[in-house]
Symmetry: D2
Subunit: 305 residues, 4 copies
């Protein structure tokens, strides 16, 4: 057994996460281990999945994720429709503001301000502009072909942005595919629905899945995943990875709890029983708010590389 | 202000939830209020949405949800692909077992047993059988037409079941639509992908959305929602309801927390700012495990009706 | 392995918790098991500990706990100073009101209203009256002797109440000891401090512990515990029970999570390693809000007895 | 309203927490604000309370807290008996080890290893040695006087240690009082009980409270509190601060949730209604595991000073 040593504050991020892994106990140990796993994942030439929910794209973490792509830490992204909504809204000039969890939501509604946790999103930063910007692009794309996969569509939108902090921009620029298995669940998807009402326009849902299938059925491929939050994005990553015998590396950041049987709260070890993570994989679940946990992990990771 | 009175145990479910609403405080008050809202929702002729995640379909709650449909408490269902997987697997004879959260997942994997919280699902209750049962039905449907919406497909599968405890069976029998905005995210969806590899078979993703759109754009319609858990199912229900000016009634059962900005943890009042719930709607968030909360609510509700 | 069966709503509390234990999965299974354990605990002639935090005494659950004592379900109580505060305040006529978690706390402060979750407690229901009622009793007791144990003091206050919904009243009447290892942490304790400033009045802290020690060192004694919430009350119960080789039965209701290493979130199985719960004990942790979980458990338990 | 800006990883802790406060959103914003508040608290000549639970003293954070005292960040400590237990056990040579939350607790018990979250504590690092080391010191102190306050006792034990990572050592050396309102709730307290069985030895419980009272009734005093976790320690800090009109500054780190009415989960704003925190105080609740949150906060704080 390894002894728990007392430690002192001092040094940089890299020092701190090392101390946490060696001596931090409880959640700190998991965070320290997460950095080690991600470091290995980046050194090994493995296919690195990143999944995350839309909510964090409404915060400054959008830039942090864009930077991850820019720095080459990500090979495949799986996320939700809301990510497209917030990323595009902000790339097209929409402004998001600091608010409060305790705001009066009726008052906000009357002012035309939407609340996302402690972020305020005025209607004119989000809904209408999104529709107005999307339509000309859809017209343009529709002229090319009538049926698109989600990944293709998202790529096309990314190509048309000029915002270094945009996730779609960086993904398009660096040729990183973005998959959104629930692409209709938000403003982006709904604008596709509206557009399809007077255009013979279609989303080929199965094409994205065939690509993911092709990806994991490659021979001798190693895969790793950094999964932020649960829901459909997390599930989609582990789901496809079962077909190659499971992830080799995995870090999961969550605030959810397991007792209710939810996938969002399920510890990664559960995925081992399903073969979604390999028995011998390196993996860790870090409990906590991604807006805090992720920047710490990345700060240490960048220092170490 | 209304005084808090002490109460005593005694009486039936209906009595208890009344006492909780009047005197229970904290979470009990929310549970009591939830029953009142659902009671009103059922009396009013409003369109009642039910959303839930897949995990609970692996428990005995599957029968409870089937019973809700049978008793006419639900008009529209929004759920995830995993619901289809577990409901079909069990309707086709797959057996699920009581297990433990603390099981050794490596050992389980070697035995071919998948763990879902404290439920054990042997491989032969789930994966292969699902594929073998689905394929002939897909062949049959493919002969009818090559492009299907998710709702249509699910209905067809439901029609072919004979299991009173099945959600798909009761939904088909009672003509209740089931929408799964992330239909590819699981075994059902993946079997569609495999099938489409040697068939010119397509899922029309946007058709489901057009139906939902048609549903909420009806004039003078009132809507209510019982949402169990967060994720894509919850979001999809509130998303579409914004287009009619928001839900009139809403009950949300969750174990998630709001501080991380997640939709799964967002209190319902947040949805008011977005116009997804009406300013004057009756709504309540009940914190707790749906396997406990839902049966209590329904027991009281059935007694009252 | 035991198969998971679907179930339907119908029947009384006793029926429901049986179904939950057999088929409920996730948290419902724990709740069902909790009822079974408590039933056995009551049948066996074991010493039954009850621990709980103060907060629930501000709700109608105060009456429910008083009723537990009245019905003979409890042999020893361990709780916090706040329990004394709220129980006495309300026994002496203080009125508590339904409020809201989202209230404006600055406004409340200016109005002299204290908020405890969603309960509002006006100053004149709590602080001053408590002091004014306590002092004459303390004068009276001081004349008897100058040094009191906590248990003795609490008993004397209970004897002077006339409120069937009071925990202290029922405990005194039924001769059930109440121990508060943190007796100074609240209004009751602070009034003792004020009183001792002009009286040679003392609390003998160690006497309570000697009694607890005497209790658990009895030969061949069996013990069980229903612990609501964590903190000092839970710890004190399991702490003393280690000296007799551990609890034989235990049910723990909590909303806390284990990843942070907290005792409040520690699953009961952790206590087995310490010998605070026997290796072969029957025990279960139920995750959820006690204002919901406890009344359900008791409703079923009373029906069964 | 202040706009949310995207940010990038880079720079030191101080840079990161600034970015979090300006752009992090959700929990990150709270963490950034916490650093600002603590910085102000240290610059202002206010009396700084530190409260924390015992569990973290079993991890390397023990050294981090000792360092806080050494660096002069703390004026008054309020904690639980378990802190004394773990701090003394380790100062006297007891070794704690890295373990796992998923360990087999029956097996551990049979090996004489106690589990505290993911920390393993062999019996011979903890129980017996504590008793053997404490007794001679108690004999020595008993010769001086027969009645001790908790604060005095703890100070005496601290004076006899030689361990720079010890909280009691640093507190004694720097003359920082440690109050434990539930001093009997653990090994330290129980050894006092055993000792008192054959010695006329007493703990004067009310003396500590009189000291705290003297502390907060000083004229024109400003107070601040860093409270880690809930329970009796948190409550005791805010409780006493109400008598001076409330805390001027406060940072609360918690993993608990408010819906159950618990004090551990109550947001700091609730304390404003009670006058335990001033209406105009600077305060923030940070949700997360203290083993992660505290080192980040301190790293930034030390860089800034």
């Amino acid at each position: 057994m390894k002894e728990v040593k007392d430690y002192k504050i001092g040094g940089n991020f890299s020092d701190l996460v090392d101390k946490m892994e060696k001596s931090g106990g409880f959640g700190a140990k998991s965070l320290g281990k997460a950095v080690q796993i991600l470091e290995t994942m980046n050194k090994e030439k493995c296919v690195r999945f990143l999944s995350f929910p839309a909510c964090i794209v409404s915060t400054g973490l959008r830039g942090v994720i864009a930077q991850m792509i820019e720095r080459g830490l990500v090979d495949v992204i799986v996320t939700t429709c809301g990510t497209l909504d917030h990323d595009l809204a902000r790339a097209w000039g929409g402004k998001y503001y600091h608010g409060s969890f305790d705001a009066d939501d009726t008052e906000l509604h009357q002012k035309g301000v939407n609340r996302l946790g402690n972020i305020f999103i005025p209607n004119d930063s989000y809904g209408k502009p999104l529709e107005e910007e999307m339509n000309p692009i859809l017209e343009e794309l529709y002229k090319k072909k009538k049926e698109w996969s989600g990944r293709e569509l998202i790529h096309e939108f990314g190509l048309r942005l000029e915002d270094e902090s945009s996730i779609l921009y960086q993904a398009a620029k660096n040729n990183i595919p973005i998959y959104t298995p629930g692409i209709t669940d938000g403003a982006f998807g709904t604008n596709l629905v509206w557009f399809s009402q007077d255009h013979d326009f279609k989303i080929n849902l199965l094409d994205d899945e065939k690509e993911l299938s092709g990806l994991v059925f490659k021979k001798d491929i190693k895969t790793g995943a950094l999964m932020i939050g649960g829901g459909i994005s997390k599930h989609h990553v582990i789901w496809w990875n079962q077909f190659k015998g499971g992830l080799d590396y995995s870090v999961f950041i969550t605030t959810a709890t397991q007792y209710d049987g939810s996938l969002s709260g399920a510890r990664l070890k559960e995925a081992v029983s399903w073969g979604k993570i390999k028995e011998k994989a390196k993996y860790v679940t870090v409990d906590g708010d991604a807006t805090i946990i992720l920047p710490i992990i990345l700060s240490a990771l960048y220092e170490k590389s």
